[in-house]
């Protein structure tokens, strides 16, 4: 038989490749440890040597839980009461505001302003207004940091979600989660550093590229858990296989893959080796992780986890368990917030249902993290890919169109300033009059909280140093504690 690969590699090439592999290894944790040596580590200390590319300064946040409301909830029904908008209900937008603006569906010249039908009360010491739809969120307002004039660039869901995640409206760039894990390391040896959980009727529009690795090495991509049934399958050894045999199996596969990797410079083999090492460790860590019955009844009640059915509440609790075990970045998608005014898709009952599905668990997550002392260094983000218009979109029911001029997101913990509010919009909430913040600024600020100068967290691709914020972005220090 023949030898089917090239045997000679010059030494320079070899050296280059090994350094690359080391880089990859650093990103995913310990390489090549025997299976049985692996014990699940307790909450890992931040910045252990094997884990990170390295932060630029002391981080305020060591991990992120991003509650992504896919479809874009209406800020006017939830967070932004506007007396003038109420007063002008039914009137056309003043031309001073509508000139040159884009809408996805409505006609800016003839559409009518829509006052909200929801009641607002100011809550907490900070007096933040919250509508009747979010009674649980109302109780935690003093822990929240408000961004009230975020400004997007993309008017449709797919591109806008990509932009919110990758800083770019088309496929191909790494997501914020991938950048974070690339920068900070996984934090967990036995779980993916970046996990994606979904709830709602279907996955978010945009799919895997929203949590993709772009041009970063494959292992920085988000790992999506299953949304129905068991979140992760095949966690047990095959029937009859004892732990020692399982360990030897993973060792053998690893050893043989490494021999192959030494012959070929394909970084995908290294990624595969890393994936197998992680899989072996997940077998130990994950069954316990996903078993929410291990949580006390009181905690499950706090989140509103009622049964075993998939839900946003289960995902919030799972997210907390993930970050406790070292996952660095957990992103939850809850779908169906696109309330244009069609049947099943409007600001009446459908909005109420979405709010019921997320309100209690979102608040519970913040409360729970705080009680455990985790909120201090865990950044929680809550929001959609854009907001909705102050103009009504009257189809068969009442709704609002996509709006990118100014929308609202809240953050909590992770070094954000509790109770702060940044961004001032005009009297109908159409656009910012002060403190506008674009998505690059938003990303720059998140990276700042994580200990990075966003201009220096880069990856060289096609001869250029790319970054999450492209060539833009300013850290908004007003929201940093």
């Amino acid at each position: 038989m023949i030898d089917s690969f090239r045997t000679s590699l010059n030494s320079a090439r070899e050296a280059q490749r090994i350094s690359r592999r080391d880089l990859l290894r650093r990103g995913i944790g310990l390489g090549g440890l025997a299976f049985l040596d692996l014990l699940r580590r307790d909450l890992p200390e931040f910045g252990s040597a094997q884990d990170s590319i390295g932060v630029h300064f002391a981080p305020r946040a060591k991990r992120v839980i991003w509650l992504f409301m896919a479809g874009a909830p209406s800020q006017f029904e939830l967070f932004e009461p506007k007396p003038t908008l109420q007063r002008l209900d039914g009137q056309v937008l003043p031309p001073s505001l509508s000139a040159g603006k884009r809408f996805a569906f409505i006609d800016g010249a003839s559409a009518r302003l829509l006052g909200t039908r929801r009641k607002f009360v100011q809550h907490g010491e900070t007096g933040a207004p919250i509508s009747e739809l979010l009674p649980h969120t109302a109780k935690i307002v003093d822990d929240l940091c408000w961004l009230r004039a975020l400004k997007g660039q993309e008017i449709n869901h797919g591109p806008a979600k990509l932009f919110m995640n990758t800083g770019f409206g088309q496929f191909g760039r790494p997501s914020a989660g991938a950048w974070s894990v690339y920068g900070l390391g996984s934090g967990a040896d036995d779980l993916p550093g970046f996990v994606v959980l979904t709830s709602g009727n279907r996955g978010p529009r945009g799919g895997a590229p929203l949590w993709g690795n772009g041009f970063l090495p494959t292992q920085f991509a988000g790992t999506p858990f299953r949304s129905g049934g068991d979140p992760v399958l095949n966690l047990r050894n095959p029937k009859g296989v004892v732990d020692d045999e399982q360990a030897e199996f993973f060792d053998a596969v690893g050893d043989l893959n490494r021999i192959a990797s030494d012959r070929s410079a394909d970084p995908e083999i290294e990624a595969r080796i890393a994936a197998y090492e992680l899989a072996a460790r997940m077998q130990t860590s994950t069954p316990e992780l996903i078993d929410l019955n291990r949580e006390p009844e009181s905690v499950r009640k706090l989140y509103g986890v009622e049964d075993d059915r998939p839900s946003f509440a289960r995902n919030c609790l799972l997210a907390r368990r993930l970050i406790e075990r070292g996952s660095r970045f957990v992103q939850l998608y809850h779908t169906d917030w696109d309330h244009h005014g069609d049947p099943g898709n409007h600001l009446g009952q459908p909005l109420e249902e979405r709010c019921r599905e997320v309100d209690q668990a979102s608040a519970a997550l913040v409360i729970d993290l705080k009680q455990r002392g985790l909120l201090e260094d865990t950044l929680v983000i809550w929001g959609g890919e854009f907001g909705r218009t102050p103009l009504g979109e009257v189809r068969n029911f009442i709704g609002r169109d996509h709006h990118i001029e100014a929308f609202t997101v809240w953050m909590a913990g992770g070094g954000t300033k509790p109770g702060a509010s940044y961004g001032i919009t005009d009297e109908v909430g159409f656009g910012a009059v002060d403190q506008s913040m674009d998505i690059h600024d938003f990303h720059a600020t998140i990276l700042h909280l994580l200990g990075f100068d966003h201009t220096r967290l880069t990856f060289r691709f096609q001869g250029r140093d790319f970054r999450l914020t492209d060539v833009h972005g300013h850290v908004i220090r007003e929201v940093v504690a």
Partner: protein, 961 residues
């Protein structure tokens, strides 16, 4: 300086695909290309407000057509060829004046200096404008002469480009790797050891060519190549949505496999799938082929609206056709004219009009076609179908004869406060969906002529309990009241929303009914029940019912006191049925009499039901009960009565606007302007016109993608303005024309490609080479590609000796882990197939849309909810867990272990069998060591299984070399 360069890089990188400009040092005064540079820049920066969409167009200025660019704007022009100073565009993008600057401040960053300079040079050089490359006709072909002459034109194009870049192609891959690549690409299965040995003994070009031919005719080729087509067609064995009941459309899947096997020319392949039913003397196979567009989802939920779901299916057909054949995302244009691509909302609905003429509904499986396996079954099916057609005509004729003086009324608007009325082709309404237990049906629309009487036909139907005509459990209904209103159509706006009940000034006149009569009345007073006579519809009494006359037609006629005179009327007929318990009509038809009709005396007039018609109806229904017991498959069937198509305002079917007729998007139709197409067959033939360069480019690009991982146009589903440029435009055009010249043959194109040196190159690359061209844009090498889940399972079956290569038939169920179905709304049973069915090729695995087979899903198999023309290739720990622990893989491993156990030297034999190459000493040693350790921990049986398990988990096994 470095900051500046970074921003220049960025600006150009965002332009998309203009890699060669990315280095600012290369700025020589070269000719600026409209196609590659100017157009993408305008598309990104300007076309949102100055593009094809009139609704968002500002200042009535359009920059994507020469008419717009060079239009006289009142003494000045956006662009004056050769005169940058006189071109308003250049002033606007470079001025500091915030009022004048474009794009406006609130729309984003100004153009960079480099971008402004690019536009300036383009204007200076004469502002040449060309049609978008993808929509342009094929140009003249000239195969480049590379420095090193090459035999295959593919290599000539690729090498010419490489030489231009100063890059060198990789060496040929190792012969064993070449063979493994070829086998996996063409058949989805690795070569056998005999095939490997034979090839290695003579790795000549002639032997390669022979191997290619052998694989092209092997049955496995079609199974492999059908898979991407099933992805594109969103094929699954269930209806989708939350109920996701099973469906029968696997015979269409078999049609695809057979068509690819026979190398059915792609034009015919397309025409039969889009419009096989419309071909003259369509064969059963051609009708079966139309299942392509029946892979749309069907909503079986209680509250599902038939028309809404039907519309969604038609929209999906338009979007899928756009993505599969036109390589274009049309769906944007459903709601508004496309912002970037030249497709108007009207043109979108012109495409919609082609697909809006089929019989299928949004909530049921009809129509389905009987599928036959032999002549005998064909005869059976034909006889039965001919009988059905005969009986349908007999019913129609008898009805026409029995209703002279009456005309069927199926007006523009119908409604009920509850279930949904579905208008049928024979003028009747079928009432579907759950809903209120009582209801009032309203028919409203225009009528020209007089009106002396109305006739209500309550019709039996399959699918109604008791056979109908009512929706009650026994088939009964109670018609409480009939109210008829009319108003002068000239004086009131039809359908103005004003009803007799809600507005005194609505103009409606109530027509008083003088006399009501029916063929039959329920009278159960003898058994302690009561009488439900037709006269009761005229007063406050309970109404008219028909027990026990279920499963047969019943007729009621209502004569007015005063006939409406001749005129243009808007009529409104209300059928109030508030008895409760779903005692409402399930299937009915309304007829009007213009002139006076004479009736015999009496209220009960059995003769209203014509016996010939009643017999014909009965015969037709009985015929349905004798359908041959053959498999069926969902198909498209054209309606006889055309359905009108209206553009939907903002894309919503609840907002119909002006009527549209079938037509082609003008920008894509340079070769047949002014054509007046009619039906799907016209559309299919237009798509396959040899001059339709766009479609043929899209097609060959997808096949290229199958063999290289990426197409020559990387955005294989976006050939529009924002898509990528082809890396090798001339090669793409040459391939497309070569394919047309060779009879639209898929196998010809595959043969061409796999015989090229470009295909047979090594996938290895140095780090520097990878970094220089990470996406292998210039094809200086091949690419290792992780196998799809289906191919991976097939390859595992093959090397473990379990594979059952039988083709065709209903779906099978390989074992899957527990915990998969836990939360689908209606629980499905997944009983793993036993015997050979367990080991069928993966294309035959049953696909539930709501719960796809987890092994394939974890390896990125698409959800069959929308057309997928390119799969993602991810690499996750979940894939590793699946391959390591899934019981199905362990079953393969055990068989592979057994197979090796019987070899003379199992550890040396393992890698040639599994990886198609010999092992190194280190590898053999590690395998032997593994076997020994597991044997020590457990026993020899376990050790052999574990040996197989390790082999099936190797990266090299999962990867096409």
């Amino acid at each position: 300086m470095s900051r500046l360069i970074a921003s220049i890089h960025l600006a150009l990188a965002t332009v998309g695909g203009v890699f060669w400009l990315a280095d600012p040092r290369e700025q020589e005064p070269i000719r600026v290309s409209w196609q590659n540079e100017v157009r993408p820049l305008l598309a990104n920066k300007c076309l949102k407000c100055h593009g094809p969409d009139p609704a968002t167009r500002e200042a009535d200025l359009r920059l994507d057509t020469p008419e717009g660019l060079f239009a006289d704007l009142g003494g000045y022009q956006a662009v004056v060829a050769g005169d940058p100073e006189g071109s308003e565009l250049l002033y606007r993008i470079s001025t500091d004046d915030r009022q004048d600057r474009m794009p406006p401040v609130e729309h984003g960053e100004p153009l960079s200096q480099v971008e402004v300079e690019l536009l300036r040079r383009w204007v200076e050089q004469g502002a040449e404008w060309e049609v978008h490359w993808a929509y342009a006709p094929f140009g003249e072909i000239e195969i480049p002469q590379a420095v090193h002459p090459v035999a295959n034109p593919i290599d000539a194009y690729v090498r010419a480009a490489l030489e231009g870049k100063g890059m060198t192609p990789a060496a040929a891959a190792d012969p064993a790797a070449q063979l493994r690549r070829l086998h996996l690409d063409l058949t989805g299965l690795p070569p056998t050891r005999d095939e490997l040995t034979s090839w290695l003994s003579d790795p000549s070009d002639a032997a390669w060519a022979a191997r290619v031919e052998a694989l092209l005719v092997s049955p496995a080729f079609a199974v492999r190549w059908a898979r991407p087509w099933l992805d594109a067609a969103r094929y699954a064995d269930s209806h989708g949505f939350t109920i996701d009941g099973g469906r029968n459309i696997w015979p269409w899947r078999d049609w695809v496999v057979e068509a690819i096997d026979a190398d059915l020319p792609f034009d015919q392949f397309t025409i039969e799938q889009l419009a096989g039913d419309l071909l003259p003397h369509a064969t059963r196979a051609q009708r079966l082929a139309t299942g392509f567009h029946r892979n749309t989802q069907i909503n079986q939920e209680g509250g599902a609206k038939d028309e809404e779901n039907r519309v969604n299916a038609v929209l999906d057909r338009v979007n899928t056709t756009g993505s599969v054949w036109l390589g274009s995302t049309l769906s944007c244009a459903q709601c508004h004219t496309h912002k970037y691509d030249p497709i108007t909302q009207t043109e979108y609905f012109q495409l919609y009009a082609f697909f809006n003429q089929t019989r299928d509904s949004g909530v049921s499986s009809d129509p389905s076609l009987l599928v036959v396996r032999n002549e005998n079954e064909e005869r059976q099916a034909m006889i039965w179908e001919a009988g059905r057609e005969q009986r349908r005509i007999a019913v129609q004729q008898a009805h026409a004869a029995a209703t002279q003086g009456w005309s069927i009324w199926q007006p523009e608007a119908w409604a009920s406060n509850g279930p949904e009325l579905r208008p049928e082709e024979d003028g009747a309404y079928r009432v579907v969906g759950q809903g209120a237990i009582y209801s009032t049906y309203v028919l409203q629309g225009l009528h020209s002529g007089g009106l002396s009487a109305i006739r209500l036909e309550a019709l039996p139907a399959h699918g109604l309990s008791g056979g109908g005509p009512g929706r009650a459990a026994n088939g009964n209904f109670v018609l409480q009241q009939v109210r008829v209103y009319a108003r002068n159509a000239a004086e009131y706006e039809a359908g103005d929303g004003r009803t007799p009940g809600n507005d005194e000034n609505s103009g409606w006149l109530s027509l008083s009914i003088e006399r009501a009569m029916a063929d039959f009345e329920q009278d159960t007073s003898a058994e302690g029940g009561r009488h439900y006579g037709i006269a009761q519809t005229l007063d406050e009494r309970p109404g008219w019912a028909i027990k026990p006359g279920f499963g047969e037609p019943h007729i009621a006629c209502f004569v007015f006191d005063e006939a409406l005179p001749e005129g243009e009327w808007e009529l409104r007929i209300e059928l109030q049925q508030e008895h409760g318990d779903r005692h409402t009509l399930g299937h009915f038809r309304m007829l009007l009499a213009d002139q006076k009709v004479t009736f015999p005396e009496g209220e009960k007039l059995p003769e209203l039901v014509d016996p010939v018609w009643a017999d014909a109806l009965r015969a037709a229904r009985e015929h349905e009960d004798h359908r041959p017991r053959l498999p069926m498959s969902l198909v498209l069937e054209a309606r006889e009565v055309p359905r009108e198509t209206r553009l939907f305002g903002r894309g919503s079917f609840l907002n119909p606007q002006e009527e549209v007729v079938p037509g082609y998007p003008a920008a894509m139709n340079h070769f047949a302007p002014g054509s007046r197409p009619n039906d799907r067959l016209d559309l299919a033939r237009w798509l396959m016109d040899p001059r339709n360069a766009l479609v043929h480019r899209v097609t060959v690009n997808r096949w290229w993608q199958q063999l290289f991982g990426t197409g020559l146009v990387e955005t294989e589903n976006d050939f529009g303005m924002r898509g990528a440029q082809p890396s090798h435009p001339e090669l793409l055009d040459w391939l497309a024309q070569d394919y047309i010249d060779h009879g639209f043959s898929r196998k010809h194109v595959v043969r061409r490609i796999v015989k090229s040196k470009t295909y047979r190159q090594s996938s290895d690359a140095t780090v520097a080479e990878r970094e220089a061209d990470p996406n292998n844009h210039w094809l200086a090498r091949q690419r290792r590609l992780r196998l799809e889940g289906e191919a991976l399972r097939d390859a595992s079956l093959a090397v473990s000796g379990l594979l059952d290569e039988r083709r065709g038939g209903g779906p099978v169920q390989p074992p899957q882990p527990g915990g998969v179905f836990a939360f689908t709304q209606s629980r499905k049973s997944w009983k793993a197939s036993e015997g050979a069915d367990r080991y069928r090729r993966s294309i035959y695995t049953r696909i539930w849309r709501s719960s796809p087979f987890p092994f394939y899903a974890v390896f990125d198999a698409p959800a069959a909810s929308a057309s997928c023309t390119r799969r993602v290739r991810s690499n996750t720990p979940l894939q590793a867990l699946t391959l390591a622990n899934d019981a199905m893989v362990i079953e393969f491993a055990s068989a592979l272990g057994e197979r090796l156990r019987n070899e003379d030297d199992p550890f040396t034999a393992a890698m040639p069998l599994v990886l198609s190459r010999s092992a190194t000493e280190a590898e053999v040693a590690r395998l032997r060591d593994h076997w020994a350790r597991v044997a020590a921990l457990r026993d020899e049986d376990a050790a052999w299984t574990s040996l197989g398990r390790v082999l099936l988990n190797l990266d090299e096994f999962l990867t096409r070399p």
